[in-house]
């Protein structure tokens, strides 16, 4: 399972963070909540997540699968 964390600021804006997704599936799997809430700003891929993706790709190359 992936995780969505929504943090609601008192100025009416919402910070959406996703964890535990592979590739860009985090965007498609959680876009419904952005569409429901309003207008979306800039999307930032997390550095540590990019690192996880890199490690996953390395494991796939080595024949390891999830």
């Amino acid at each position: 399972m992936g995780e969505i964390i929504l943090t609601f600021n008192w100025d009416g804006t919402v910070e959406k963070e996703t964890k535990g997704f592979t590739g860009k599936s985090c965007i498609s799997a959680t876009k419904f909540i952005e569409d429901a809430l309003g207008e979306t700003g800039e999307r930032r891929m997390k550095k540590e997540a990019l690192g996880v993706q890199y490690k996953n790709e390395e494991k796939k190359k080595q024949g390891l699968s999830y």
């Binding site: 399972m1 995780e3 969505i4 919402v14 910070e15």
Partner: protein
């Protein structure tokens, strides 16, 4: 992969707006009971003290319920695009509207999660902000 994104909340859902009005503190430090919130299918006249404007709204709280010093009704007008515009005055200012919008976002997100059968928890972070955490299919482990 994971990501973060900021979303500016837009009020479009009547049910969630009413729930938000029942959560946000009013100017007397209390919350509004649902029973005093008028919901109109057709726009209804707001009482605006000393104003020559005629404003009709769909969601209304009358001024006797707004606390001491309120001279005007509080209302929300539904626009043709489905969004709501607030008609606020007196002590119900932009800061209050921002807090209302925040609670609206919380209620709207909870409604979307429930509609999809997604389990969530509601907590408060160390800065006093409301947080929702939800488990969603499509992650590494499911």
């Amino acid at each position: 992969m994971s990501h973060t994104v900021d979303v500016s909340t837009k009020i479009t859902d009547e049910e969630c707006l009413v729930k938000a009005l029942c959560r946000v503190e009013n100017q007397t430090g209390h919350i509004f009971p649902a029973s005093i919130i008028e919901r109109h299918k057709d726009p209804t006249l707001l009482n605006l003290y000393g104003s020559h404007r005629t404003v009709n709204a769909h969601i209304i709280i009358r001024r006797p319920n707004l606390g001491h010093g309120a001279y005007n009704d509080l209302g929300f007008v539904k626009n043709s695009d489905g969004s709501y515009t607030a008609v606020i005055a007196d002590k119900y200012d932009s800061a209050w509207l921002q807090r209302l919008t925040t609670y609206y976002g919380v209620e709207k997100a909870k409604k979307e999660f429930k509609a999809r059968g997604i389990k969530y928890t509601e907590t408060t972070d160390d800065k006093g902000r409301v947080q929702l955490k939800a488990q969603v299919k499509g992650g590494i482990y499911g």
